[in-house]
Amino acid sequence: MLEPVAAGRSGRAFVVPGLTQDARGIVIGHEAAIVLHSLDQLLSLLRIASGETALGELFPSLRAEELRSSIGGQAYAVFVRLADSRGLDRFARSAAFCGGQLLVGSGRHFVRYRDAQAPYGYDAQAIHAGSDGEYVFYTPLATQLYRRVAELVLSRLICQQRLLPAIGGLKAALHSHDVREPLWLLVPSPLLPRLLRYLWLRQIEVGVALPDPTQSADARYTLLQVPGSLARAAGALLGLPGLHFLLPQSERSAVELGHSHPLNLQSLSPLFSDGQRHLFLAEPLGLLSLPASPFVASRFIVQPSEALGEPTGEPFRNMEPTAPGKNEPRPLSHHVAPDRHAPAASSLPKDLSQLARVELGLVRQRTFDCSPAAALVPWSQLAQLSRLAYRLPPSALASLRAVALDGGLLILGDVSHLPLGELFYEAARKILVPLGHCVLPRLPPSALRRALSSSEDSWLLLQPGAPAASDHAAGLPSLDARRAIARIELPADALVELSSLIVARLHALPLAELQALSVAEPAPPQAIYPSLGWLWPLVGGPLLSLREPVALPAATSPTAPATSGREPGRGSSSRSPLPDDDASL
């Protein structure tokens, strides 16, 4: 049968082909085979081996076959390409624990790996020369012939395993989750747009695995990659039906949070095919395989600008102050920003039905805590503005910047001194919103800035536009107070000193127009003498209380002298000093 190999065996070839001795003198082969007698033993072996991180790299070469012995016995063999005695030792311990045995060899012949009786391994005394059986396993007791029945797909075996519920369920798993590790979120497709908006509004950057429209796949679900911090604040997501939190085990496999897989999927991940993501869900869903499409950041998916009103007006033409001598100044107008998402958008699939659209709008609301940062003064009030600007201290005037727009002069700075025009506050950095309005949905300033503006340095002026288009289309009165946003984007270098802009504008106006701009003085008051009555001053004459010259009265509350020449009944209280309205001459 078998004979132990001596320590310093040299110059003598092994009987079994493919056997060699490594540096430690231990007999190894090109391949190793672990023979097990039941499927449970096979799974136990996989569970134990997958727990050994040192063996993880061997799994790509792992294959399993169902065998049948010459006497009809069923067996399972796991073949692995391993030519290292230390690795073989670990496999041998795992195989022994599961009730199997490890053999080394190559091709058809395999001989028992070393054990206590033969520390350096075995070699067969004679090789089996018959052609029956695909495999010949030489053991200390017998030489066994095995016939291959079928090849087992290990990944299928793994996927067939049922998840084991963890103690505490989902909430405990979320609570104990390491926030540095991302999570996957399996979302039913109908919920996807709402969920994306929900996460985007809370500035939670997620990745969306958009399905490839060219491939047919299960469109019922979409996989999101969310930051691990979401586990601490899952909030309203916990109650959503059909939503599953998954803990990624590898690039292509994940297990539902609150459960665990019997096998260590991280080590077994090489067994899964490249094109799929295998999601292990609790019963009754079981395994769900989705295409392993890359995650696309949600900022490319959510389109806040989609609901913005179209800029009204001509494109931005000129940023310089109007040159003197021209009758018509060249106003600055709306600047159409380039699409900053163009590169990312081009890589998105053509089917954008799953894209989320967040409709931003302006709504009237009290803004007590917002201080004015800009004012849009209409051109009709330019003369008044110039006169008021003349009154401002030079330091305050120098701090004001302005830009000419179609609707008027936009003045940036401390405009609390200017009682003119429409006031704006800074809702986010360099984003101006009219006082009394706010942007809905409410976004953090940084998110609002990122959503609306294309460049860091430019100013963005938001104004209420037309009511929502859907209301017009339905022909119904608007129930939503939200107005679309008309935005004007101003490059930072368009702002010039207010004083120079006023001077340039005034020079550009013809004299007649300038006079028309000046504020008209109200009509002068006109004195009228209402009738005092025929008997005046005999009746209702002046009621003098100061009969003699008196000293100057006190400053704040001058008191009348106590001495009065009139009797009490004839005080002025008995007669109104002012005439009736219909009195006539």
Binding site: P419, P525, Q526, P537, P542, L546, L552, A554
Partner: protein, 394 residues
């Protein structure tokens, strides 16, 4: 009763005065009536009428190119109501019915006008800060300044034996009366011009006391020599000179004088300014006021003739009254060190910021001002100025 009286006073007199409507000049309020109005002032603050008056105040100031700070209410500035009551009663004395009063009664009414006005002026002078805030001064100005715009329409028509004048008609009555009598003549009178002559010429003192309630108004419309003597005007200039040291008010006043035209202002202020210089040369207490007005004069010259990039420079439009105004600038330019930089406000107002060009224009303007007076008068003025400034430097 106080509330009703105060409300009718605001409705019929104060608000139309600010809004440019028909201002009813009715029975005089007197000192007691003023006290009733003052008592009702705190309860009137929330009244829409008082709020309308406050709004009209701000609008008046804005229309004049003044950017007002938050103005006090009528309850906070009780002196403003006293001044308005005094103004009403003073205007009453110009009514023909006032002639039906006895001389003693007219004197009594005028005395109470002066007492009310002085009380208002003293409340301004005795404010907590030692000097009145700009807001209070502007508030008074908004309320009192319409006096100089207040007009009256009279109708002069012939009767069977004589001719008669109906004063203080509303536009509607005037139109109907003029239609009934084709020979009738409509006269438009500026009311304030009649005030100095009321009560046998004692109205000038009352008007002076009334304008002391509102220092900015006193300077806002320079009155010609026919309306006020040079000595009285010089005294007014000396009293209100501290106003020129407040940047906001001084800028507003500069703008007002520039819009009136420097020659017109010069004609009204030249004589009083020379009188003030003469007084300042003898009285050291008046020298700061004189220096303040000289600086203001220089400022107006710079703004009107030097800083503005107009070519050719505007004409001086000289008159006999305005000549000393221009000659004083020449004298000042001789006293100032050569190459002295322009005032900071001028340098900032000039877009070019070319100080050398500004200096050359200033020199050219000074030479133009040199020729406005004969050499003897110019030398005399120079000596006067030297005395005033040299003495002040000691």
């Amino acid at each position: 009763m106080s509330y009703t009286l105060a409300a009718s006073f605001l409705r019929d007199f104060v608000r139309p005065l600010l809004r440019g409507a028909d201002v009813a000049i009715a029975r005089p309020l007197g000192w007691q009536g003023t006290q009733h109005v003052l008592q009702a002032a705190p309860s009137l603050v929330e009244d829409p009428l008082a709020q309308d008056v406050a709004k009209a105040c701000v609008q008046r100031l804005l229309a004049q190119g003044i950017l007002p700070p938050p103005l006090p209410s009528l309850a906070d500035d009780a002196g403003a109501l006293s001044a308005l009551a005094a103004l009403h009663d003073l205007l009453f004395l110009a009514r023909p019915e006032a002639q039906r009063l006895s001389s003693a009664t007219r004197d009594g009414v005028l005395r109470e006008v002066i007492v009310c006005a002085e009380a208002a002026a003293l409340s301004l002078a005795w404010s907590t800060e030692g000097q009145a805030e700009d807001a209070t001064i502007l508030h008074r100005h908004a309320l009192i300044e319409p006096l100089f715009r207040l007009t009256r329409l009279d109708l002069r028509r012939k009767t069977l034996f004589d001719e008669t004048v109906q004063r203080g008609l509303t536009r509607k009555k005037l139109a109907s009366a003029a239609a009934a009598n084709q020979d009738a003549l409509t006269l438009s009178v500026l009311c304030w011009t009649e005030l100095p002559g009321v009560v046998d010429g004692q109205g000038a003192a009352a008007l002076q006391a009334l304008l002391a309630c509102s220092p900015l108004t006193a300077l806002w419309s320079p009155r010609p020599r026919e309306a006020i003597s040079h000595e009285a005007h010089a005294q007014l200039l000396a009293q209100q000179a501290p106003l020129l040291l407040r940047p906001g008010l001084a800028r507003g006043l500069s703008h007002r004088y520039l819009s009136l035209g420097v020659p017109a202002v010069a004609a009204a202020l030249s004589g009083p300014l020379v009188v003030l210089l003469q007084q300042a040369a003898d009285d050291a207490a008046l020298r700061p006021a004189a220096i303040g007005w000289l600086g203001f004069l220089s400022q107006l010259h710079w703004l009107a003739y030097i800083a503005l990039p107009l070519l050719p420079p505007p004409r001086l439009d000289l008159s006999e009254d305005s000549a000393p105004w221009f000659a004083l600038f020449y004298c000042l330019s001789q006293l100032a060190p050569a190459g002295r930089p322009a005032p900071a406000v001028i340098a900032q107002a000039d877009p070019a910021r070319d100080e050398r060009a500004l200096y050359e224009r200033a020199q050219a303007h000074a030479q133009r001002c040199r020729s406005v007076l004969p050499a003897e008068q110019l030398a005399s003025l120079h000596r006067l100025l030297t005395r005033a400034l040299a003495t002040s430097a000691q």
